[in-house]
Symmetry: C2
Subunit: 209 residues, 2 copies
DNA sequence: TCTCCTGATGTCAGACTCTGACATCAACCA
DNA sequence: TGGTTGATGTCAGAGTCTGACATCAGGAGA
């Protein structure tokens, strides 16, 4: 056995979530998180560049999985379908964490700081997707556009999955979002379309910034 | 004459820009900015919620102008055209500040913190545009989509305007971005399309976040 | 004119975030 | 045995941001 309890990073993430839930994000200090995880504040900052990052640890893995999938999808697959396939590939990894995702979403949507971080993470993911598409010989402009569409679909699906009282799987929601997007693009969208929901979810809090 | 020099806010903004340019954003302290503007650090934080905000003072005015224009455009105007008209309405207000815009852009693109702020400001602007469109009886889903398109056009045009060695006016670039977007949508975009440029400009710095 | 009130600013103390430099010490390796 | 390594701790300090209270010129009204 090592000199210290293993998985300090994971303990920090769990401690942070627990404290953010009960006390709220900004009434929780890094010292409290660290202490609950059994390490010092200094160690927290060795694992996470800043306080916000403790909520975004999964972004790297998500990006890796998506990029790998896009690169490995059969060459004949259309670009948007490749992206959709990648989104579907990630769907199962979320399936058992709906409760967690819901709590996390609740924390993020109530703090402008965290929304900022989320936006930049998504922009970064879109960039990575676009790069992967270019490796599949997709023209740059198209790659960027499709990457953005992919993000829009993902957001939309994720949002509805988190709130789905019938607990249908994320993959179903991704498919539904794709269908709806196509419908909207074809001019048959309704005014209660999901796109609205997706947009509302990323509206910054009215904190006066 | 008042008890203090007037326009403390403006002085703070100017002082900040000057210092960010020479020392860089993170080697400039709020105390230095305030001191150069002839006030105390505490006063800085009365005008700006945080250090980043000093670079985003214009966002409120921009939003107001855009929203007002959208609301007042003839009812018969198509939604996207209303948004484009609003963008054009703002174009002239930037015209005399290309140098400033360029410096500002340079500072923002080299600091992840500032890019985050910029992203959330743009998201907020998109939201406001969508709301205005709904007031014109545009369906919610369409309003969101068109608002996002408007932001994409604006970003793209702004980016190219700032770097335009021929110093063509922003309005020209807005029109060009619109044309290009339509071309891409029609499937005739080239691989060196502007959309690529626009996307690259918002790619977060590789600071490992 | 005197007095009161208001608004912009200053002063001060302090909590919190984040960083650099250096110390510790178990485990692993030669 | 002895040296190295890697994760962590300790400490000091800079910088951001906030709350509470003080100051004081100028305007409003008596």
């Amino acid at each position: 056995m090592g000199r210290w309890e293993p998985n300090a990073r994971g303990r920090l993430e769990q401690a942070a979530m627990a404290l953010f839930e009960t006390r709220g994000y900004d009434r929780t200090t890094v010292e409290e998180i660290a202490s609950r995880a059994g390490v010092t504040e200094r160690t927290f900052f060795r694992y996470f560049a800043d306080k916000r990052e403790v909520l975004f640890g999964g972004a790297k893995d998500l990006e890796r999985l998506i990029v790998d999938t896009i690169v490995n999808v059969p060459a004949a697959t259309a670009p948007l379908d490749a992206v959709i396939a990648a989104l579907q590939a990630t769907a199962s990894t979320f399936e058992e964490r709906r409760g967690y995702a819901r709590k996390r979403r609740g924390i993020i949507t109530t703090h402008a700081d965290l929304q900022e971080r989320e936006l930049i993470k998504l922009a970064s993911l879109a960039s990575a997707i676009a790069v992967s598409l270019r490796q599949r010989a997709v023209a740059a402009a198209a790659a960027d556009l499709i990457a953005e569409l992919g993000i829009a679909i993902f957001r939309n699906a994720f949002e509805r999955w988190v709130d789905d009282k019938e607990r249908r799987p994320l993959s179903r929601h991704v498919q539904a979002a794709v269908d709806e997007l196509k419908a909207v693009a074809a001019g048959t969208g309704t005014s209660s379309s999901r796109l609205r929901t997706a947009n509302a979810s990323r509206r910054p809090s009215s904190k006066g910034r």
